[in-house]
């Protein structure tokens, strides 16, 4: 018995995915989540065999959300579903350990094929993109690992840093003293092997999807 979790903030697209899968793979049990927190909750409490993850979920912060999941559940197979067709981003997604990338434009049959392939342990990519993607970058996944080793607080601080906030503003947002923010910042530097904010921001921005290009 195989259970699959669909994590996507768009109810309509969840329906579409469910329809596509139940038609071709009726033996699957399907669960759903609409944001990252409930996704993590369900993964903690239930036995899930495959996660279909949309990067653009509330609380997900794009690639960071995937890193978060990969860190919490290293053994869980994850396939990313996204509207983007940016090959650079897809390369990053695969480097970080996702077992597949399903574009939102994929047909029902493609989606079913992808899920079957990934459940078999293969990596699945859309045909038209597979050449540009297979070059996994060693330095990048090394960096992703380091970022994944950050504690939740450090992680939040890094996100705010990437948005250009001052330590004082970050402290206000997280309701902690500026001194504490600074301590987190120093810890982040040590974990990432760097020594100033600029380098941290660069790493954070390269790990994540650029600001929306729509």
């Amino acid at each position: 018995m195989i259970t699959l979790l669909i994590a996507d903030d768009h109810p309509l697209y969840r329906d579409a995915l469910r329809g596509a899968l139940s038609l071709s793979l009726p033996a699957l049990t399907l669960k759903e989540a609409g944001d990252l927190n409930t996704t993590v909750d369900i993964l903690n409490n239930e036995d899930i065999d495959l996660l279909l993850l949309d990067l653009h979920m509330p609380g997900s912060n794009d690639l960071f959300g995937l890193l978060h999941i990969r860190k919490l559940f290293p053994e869980l197979p994850v396939a990313v579903v996204s509207g983007t067709e940016d090959t650079a981003l897809i390369s990053k997604i695969i480097s970080v350990g996702a077992l597949g990338f399903i574009p939102k434009t994929a047909s029902a049959q493609d989606i079913a094929n992808a899920v079957e392939a990934i459940l078999d342990g293969d990596v699945w990519l859309p045909d038209n993109l597979s050449e540009g993607v297979d070059d996994v970058n060693e330095a990048f996944s090394e960096l992703a690992d380091r970022v994944a080793s950050l504690t939740p607080s450090q992680y939040k601080v890094l996100c705010y840093m990437r948005d250009g906030l001052l330590n004082k503003q970050i402290g206000f947002n997280l309701d902690i003293a500026e001194a504490t923010v600074k301590a987190h910042v120093t810890a982040i530097f040590k974990k990432l092997g760097i020594n100033n904010r600029t380098q941290a921001v660069l790493i954070a921005s390269q790990l994540e999807l650029e600001p929306p290009v729509q």
Copy 2:
């Protein structure tokens, strides 16, 4: 009489381009340059109708090089030649005002077609990429304009900032006092409409090609 300048640091690829073009378009006069400085020199002293620019030239700094050329010669038609097939980067290249993108894998016939189309005033893109690319981002080209308005010194300082250097180190590299670097930094902030280094670094890193993903 139409004159075309090939700017590419690889002599072999310059030869290949020249061969492809002289075969299909024998009426063209061809000039060559191997780095950004000689490119600018030639553009200043001669009448060029179209520039074929490789992004990865010495002194070019990827997209910054294109911005530089676009700023110095706004009326000059430019086609970018590059080995990348990253659609996000190609979108940026077009947003910044290039009239075409020619992948290094293009055939001689494709290259000739592209040059003809661009000389006619059209925008040319390789067939297999044209869907993912046409979404020009307004905010992005606005930002690119602002970066293009930086003076040469400010520009260099921004590049060093993006590399994570301290003001002191930047001053050493440019052989000016740290105080002067700070003055440049403040001027950059004003032109870009921001107020700290983190935001400047983010803008710089988004304008440029990410670190090599090969």
